[in-house]
């Protein structure tokens, strides 16, 4: 974590800020979801509280906090209380492992009468070498929270919702894990920061010993593995229980699924967990297939150069440049979150057997074929990122 007091303090604060960033995005996403669905369905949506209904979020938060405490008497109280808290943890931990901007270099400086530095702070809670493996492992722990909620509530709708959720999550995890293997063959690394480095510049690769350069396209993963991206995105929808795969909470059959018996703030924690998983999925998609926090070509370098030039202090310039690049990453993530919301109001829900068939009999063979085809192409043509 660090070697001296300053570094440890900054790292802990950074961790807290990244977590709060995730939590703070949730009300905004709820607003986007409600206004967006209203826009798609030709309605108004919440527009009374504040400009464009934006302070509706605050009103909702206060209302959640002042709801009556309710525990179903026949539930397992410990599991019932533990589930919402546990729903929060996997999303938050996984989100901490994704680089949200470039590392910040800090030159030595004077503070409290002593010399500090130099430091390099990474714009993520922790940089793991096994990056993607860690994210996949942790985010699949989210199934436990849903299962505990369903089991603890002692309600048949909750239990059915929880069972559906866990069966669906484990089924799509296979396709999700396999769809990334093709990309990993090309990157040769599991670490996110290295992947972002590899996606810099225009599209260029070796093909049968010839170097091919396509100057008008960025060197993003999506151009190497389009099928892998489609499979991963579909599996991400199923993993986060979003429409068209939201059978765990299909309101027509199961009332509200695993959170039937929850209300008020405990319900909100489930929402934060679900949106947290969506953010993790979007961030992984951005980092794997859309160049991470970098702008295409060398726009990043000129942008950060301009920002650094505007500040007299080198350290302040570096921090500001990282923050500007962070906005780029946030915009990319928000685009994919909008796609999640867009799809929700566009596609109808699957039937449960169709869902399982799609996962096991369609997506699993296609992702296997993708792995084989990629391996064969690399062997034959020696294509490289």
């Amino acid at each position: 974590m660090g070697s001296d007091v300053f570094e440890i303090t900054v790292n802990v604060i950074k961790m807290l800020i990244i977590f709060l960033l995730m939590v703070q995005l949730v009300p905004i996403l709820v607003w986007v979801e409600r206004r967006g669905s209203a826009f798609i369905q030709n309605r108004f949506g919440p527009n009374r509280v504040g400009p464009l209904g934006l302070t509706q979020l605050l009103a909702d938060a206060v209302k959640f906090l002042f709801k009556e405490e309710f525990v179903p008497p026949k539930s397992h109280a410990l599991l019932y209380y533990a589930a919402p808290v546990l729903a929060l943890i996997p999303g938050a931990i996984a989100f901490g492992g994704i680089p949200l901007s470039m590392p910040i270099d800090i030159q030595p400086f004077q503070m409290f009468g002593s010399e500090w530095g130099p430091y390099t702070f990474k714009f993520q809670s922790y940089d793991l070498d096994i990056g993607i493996l860690f994210i996949l492992a942790i985010s699949s722990l989210g199934a436990y929270a849903l299962l505990l909620a369903g089991w603890g509530s002692n309600n048949k709708y909750s239990l059915f919702g929880a069972l559906r959720a866990s069966a669906q999550m484990i089924s799509y995890e296979l396709a999700m894990g396999l769809s990334l293997v093709g990309m990993l063959m090309l990157y040769q690394t599991l670490n996110f920061s290295n992947m972002v480095e590899l996606q810099k510049g225009p599209l260029h690769f070796m093909f049968f010993g010839k170097e091919i350069l396509i100057p008008f396209l960025p060197n993003w993963g999506i151009f190497y593995q389009p099928l892998g991206f489609i499979l991963f995105a579909t599996a991400a929808f199923a993993e986060t229980n979003r429409l068209p795969f939201d059978l765990p909470e299909a309101e027509g059959e199961l009332v509200a699924g695993y959170h039937t018996e929850y209300g008020g703030l405990k319900m909100l924690l489930f929402y934060i967990g679900e949106y947290g998983h969506m953010m993790v999925a979007s961030a992984v998609m951005v980092t794997f297939y859309f160049g991470g926090y970098e702008l295409p070509f060398s726009l990043s370098d000129s942008l950060t150069g301009a920002v650094r030039g505007a500040f007299s202090s080198v350290n302040l310039g570096n921090v500001m440049a990282a923050l500007v690049i962070h906005v780029v990453m946030l915009l990319k993530i928000l685009f994919f979150l909008w796609v999640f919301i867009w799809v929700r109001w566009t596609l109808p829900r699957f039937r449960y057997d169709q869902l399982m068939d799609l996962g096991w009999k369609t997506m699993l063979p296609w992702s296997l074929a993708n792995v084989l085809a990629t391996a064969y192409l690399i062997l034959m043509a020696g294509s490289a990122v």
Partner: protein, 121 residues
């Protein structure tokens, strides 16, 4: 490397627990009525029993998942190391190794489909 993760987990857990606790203090205290505290069912008086029968398919899916997931896990180190072997001229051996591995995988999948282990109703 595991310490920051544990610290973050602790932070998030504390945050969640605190929120749930504060909300339980702030909410109004109202009388408990029998109807309000019954498990939710569609308007009828509840018929809840302690035992709920769960379809065997869920267990089966979970067991099949574990086997396939472990197989996929083996592909990750293979995938990361593959291009080094291709560059060193060992690519064909690695590829045929993958081919056999995925062949076994597909054989298992086909057998499951034939045994109707993946059919829902």
């Amino acid at each position: 490397m595991i310490l920051p993760i544990l610290v973050l987990a602790l932070m998030v857990g504390t945050f969640g627990t605190l929120l749930v606790y504060v909300a339980s203090l702030l909410g109004p205290k109202k009388k408990k009525t029998v109807a309000k505290y019954m498990p939710y069912e569609c308007g009828l008086p509840g018929q809840e029993t302690k035992k709920t029968n769960v379809s065997i398919r869920f267990y089966l899916t979970a067991i099949l998942f574990i086997m396939f997931d472990i197989e996929i896990l083996f592909l990750y180190p293979w995938a990361v190391a593959y291009r080094d072997f291709v560059d060193a001229g060992q690519g064909a051996f690695m590829f045929w190794e993958l081919f056999v591995f995925i062949g076994l995988f597909v054989f298992g999948l086909l057998w499951e489909i034939k045994a109707k282990a993946l059919d829902w109703e």
